[in-house]
């Protein structure tokens, strides 16, 4: 049995999904967290649950909303689970009415009753159930209250809607519906009434579908006739508007019967809003929060933890492995493979786990609290001036964690041009995999100003986004249309448990990658550095790795790091950015206690180190990101463009910084 979970954006669909299936999908407090349908299996195995992106209506405006409509048209769904936000019943019921027209078994989960009660709204669930003709179960999706009952109802009851045709659209529309359904008889498995109404409303997806199965010309003439008739007869602007009004009338009646309004207390949310979205304080508060986040990640908390972990790895762990290898009389080859390859490569990445988790914790906090949508609001003026949209800032902040989900989050942007622009520019956001590189280099060269230097790189990424957005939007991606309407959800106090899960969910990928890809990469890199044309155990400078690196190293000489070591690590960095750090750990492997940081001083100056970090920040996105860009844009041209422009910008900027820095006397 396939059950589709559907509802307005930010009503708790994904929370409910997680509760019902026992899985853990991505939850946040802004509209449009889910951009792709997700499938999970119910805890008690009664069937599959499909989490769909939130929509206000089945008539889509953006790409993520289109997912829902095409799901309804193209896939077999057995039951609908509609989740309603009790505090916004009027708006939510518009979707419900359309779903009931779809004439599939349905039931309703009434969520956020607590929020509604705080606003002084009391809802009679049984009365609502009677009017709509489907079961209504009150739930609290965040903590799972009522979920058991919901599952019982899904599993046992027959939930075929009892009341058909809740909305009567008036004589003119009804006769047009009859004419259109007549054209489609026996040609589709879907409810013909549903298709007819959506067709009249102007749903592009449905129009495409209907035009395939029925006579297009006849339908168009019915539609035109209806339109002229309605516009003459009533004071209405369009067919869609007329249908909306009819639904609204029905909804007002329903709400009047089931909801009671009492006194509301002024929500805390509004008090917070008066500060964080304050005219003058909004932007400074955002920047201050970001600065605080970086200080905590790099100075106050993250670095001491990373150092402790590093001490553990280079100390007890290494000596433990050494004695174990000695005990089994391992050969010199195995000895070197494990200590110089694996411990150096994988360990070098693992020591940054604390910093990455702290960063992810903050991103989760931003997402969960509801601040994210406010950031989009605060940033919109700046983004608009470069041809972007405040909403583009959400993918970019997510991109700080990992570019792949960031690029996917761009789907909530309604206009194709702004979406493409956001997809192309999100890779410039410094993802967590680039963070170890900075951490290593700032530790070696800028010990006094760690957080400041790293923050400067993040800001550089954002500044480049703004500049490039301006350039692209006034050259290759010209268009006037822009759309910015954003829902600002009420703040909620994030629960520690969900915050931790969300942090772990993002961070575990990093740990897993260290155990799989970084492990494999370390073995290969080590082997390439251990072997050379002259045989095994050659001097590192005569190894295969040096030979490969030397081929492209001259390209990087003008920007300050024309060594084969830097070149080799940049190549591996295309596969995954963390690989840069493990490659360096292997290449610059030093036994004893001499740390990598001290050794780096022989190869880099502070200036060339900064130039190197800037290059890492901007050069070609990693393989997974490139693949995602291709999937999202569906265009080889734009994918190639995203790689080429990034490389060019990285090179030019590093050149300016390095050569410019030397001119003014920096080293």
């Amino acid at each position: 049995m396939e059950i589709a979970l559907i509802g307005n954006p930010n009503t708790g669909k994904t929370s409910l999904f997680n509760n019902l299936t026992g899985s853990y999908a991505y939850v946040g407090n802004w509209s449009g967290v889910t951009v792709e349908k997700k499938v999970g299996v119910f805890k008690n195995n009664i069937g599959q649950l499909i989490d769909l992106p939130g929509v206000y209506t089945l008539n889509p405006l953006s790409k993520d909303e289109g997912v829902v409509t095409s799901y309804f048209l193209n896939e077999a769904v057995d039951r609908l689970l509609n989740i309603l936000d009790a505090s916004q019943l009027e708006r939510n019921l518009h979707l419900t009415l359309q779903l009931l027209e779809f004439e599939k078994p349905a039931l309703i989960g009434l969520n956020m009753i607590d929020v509604a009660n705080k606003r002084g709204i009391q809802i009679d669930a049984s009365k609502l159930s009677k009017i709509l003709g489907v079961p209504v179960v009150p739930v609290v999706a965040r903590n799972g209250k009522g979920c058991d009952k919901l599952v019982d109802v899904i599993a046992t009851k027959s939930i075929q809607p009892a009341n058909k045709n809740l909305v009567c659209y008036g004589q003119a529309v009804e006769s047009a519906i009859a004419a259109i359904t007549g054209e489609m008889t026996a040609k589709t498995n879907h409810s013909t009434r549903f298709l007819a109404i959506q067709y009249i409303e102007g749903n592009e997806y449905v129009r495409n579908y209907v035009n395939h199965i029925a006579d297009q010309q006849k339908l168009t003439s019915i539609l035109e006739e209806l339109e002229s008739q309605l516009l003459n007869q009533y004071d209405t602007k369009s067919l869609a508007n007329f249908i909306y009004t009819k639904r609204k009338e029905v909804i007002e009646k329903i709400v009047a019967e089931v909801a009671r309004k009492g006194d509301a207390t002024i929500p805390l949310s509004e008090k917070i809003d008066s500060i964080v979205t304050n005219r003058y304080l909004g932007l400074p508060i955002f920047l201050l929060l970001m600065y605080f986040m970086f200080m905590l990640t790099f100075d106050w908390l993250g670095t001491p933890l990373s150092d402790a972990l590093d001490g553990l790895l280079t100390g007890p762990v290494t000596s433990g492995i050494e004695s174990a290898l000695g005990a089994i009389h391992a050969s010199a080859f195995i000895h070197a493979l494990i200590l110089e390859g694996l411990v150096a490569g994988v360990g070098g990445v693992l020591v940054f786990v604390p910093q990455i988790f702290i960063l992810f914790f903050f991103i989760s906090l931003l997402e969960d609290s509801g601040y994210m949508a406010r950031v989009a609001l605060v940033m919109d003026r700046i983004m608009e001036s470069v041809g972007l949209n405040g909403k583009a800032f959400i993918p970019m902040i997510i991109g700080f964690g990992c570019n792949v989900p960031g690029i996917m989050a761009a789907r909530t942007i309604e206009t194709p041009r702004e979406r493409l622009l956001t997809v192309l520019l999100t890779p410039l956001m410094s993802c967590s995999a680039r963070l170890p590189v900075y951490a290593l280099f700032v530790g070696a060269f800028f010990a006094g100003h760690k957080a400041f230097i790293v923050l400067s790189l993040y800001v550089l990424g954002i500044v480049m986004v703004l500049i490039l957005a301006k350039i692209f939007s006034s050259t290759v991606l010209k268009s006037e249309t822009s759309l910015f309407v954003i829902e600002l959800p009420p703040y909620r106090l994030p629960q520690f448990q969900s915050l931790w899960r969300s942090t772990w969910d993002k961070g575990k990928g990093f740990v897993r990658k260290a155990g799989t890809f970084i492990f494999a990469g370390s073995v290969i890199i080590w082997l390439l550095s251990y072997a050379g044309p002259g045989g095994l155990e050659v001097d590192m400078d005569d190894s295969f790795l040096a030979a490969i690196g030397n081929v492209i190293a001259p390209i990087f000489a003008p920007i300050g790091f024309g060594t084969w070591q830097a070149a080799a690590s940049l190549i591996t960095g295309f596969l995954a950015k963390e690989a840069i750090i493990s490659t360096m750990n292997i290449i610059y492997f030093v036994p004893n206690d001499a740390s990598l940081q001290a050794l780096l001083a022989d190869f880099y100056t502070p200036l060339s180190a900064y130039s190197f970090m800037v290059f890492i920040l901007l050069y070609i996105p990693c393989l997974a990101t490139v693949a995602t860009i291709y999937k999202e844009t569906n265009s080889k041209k734009w994918t190639a463009f995203s790689m080429i422009y990034a490389f060019v910008i990285a090179y030019v900027l590093a050149l300016i910084i390095y050569q410019g820095g030397r001119l003014i006397g920096l080293v």
Binding site: L61, Y244, A264, S274, R279, L377, D380, E414, T481, V485
Partner: protein
């Protein structure tokens, strides 16, 4: 006129048809249309977006769209 509303003022929308089609659709999705009561919560500086509240939910829209919405003060 939206411009005449200041922070904290309440108004009722009487005409929304001059606003762009897409924005109009999205506002309609959110339940904001002719006849809706709105309250201006916040106005961002430098011609930035405004935050309006209607039926207990907050929505951010751009200034240039907001000024095209006809409202009467309540």
């Amino acid at each position: 006129m939206f411009e005449s509303l200041k922070m904290g003022d309440k108004g009722k929308i009487i005409d929304i048809s001059r606003v762009g089609k897409l924005v109009q659709r999205r506002l309609l999705d959110l339940g904001i249309t002719e006849g809706s009561e709105v309250c201006v919560k916040c106005v961002m500086p430098f011609g930035g977006p405004v935050m309006i509240e209607s039926c207990g939910q907050c929505v951010g829209i751009r200034r240039k769209e907001a000024v095209q919405i006809e409202v009467v003060r309540l």
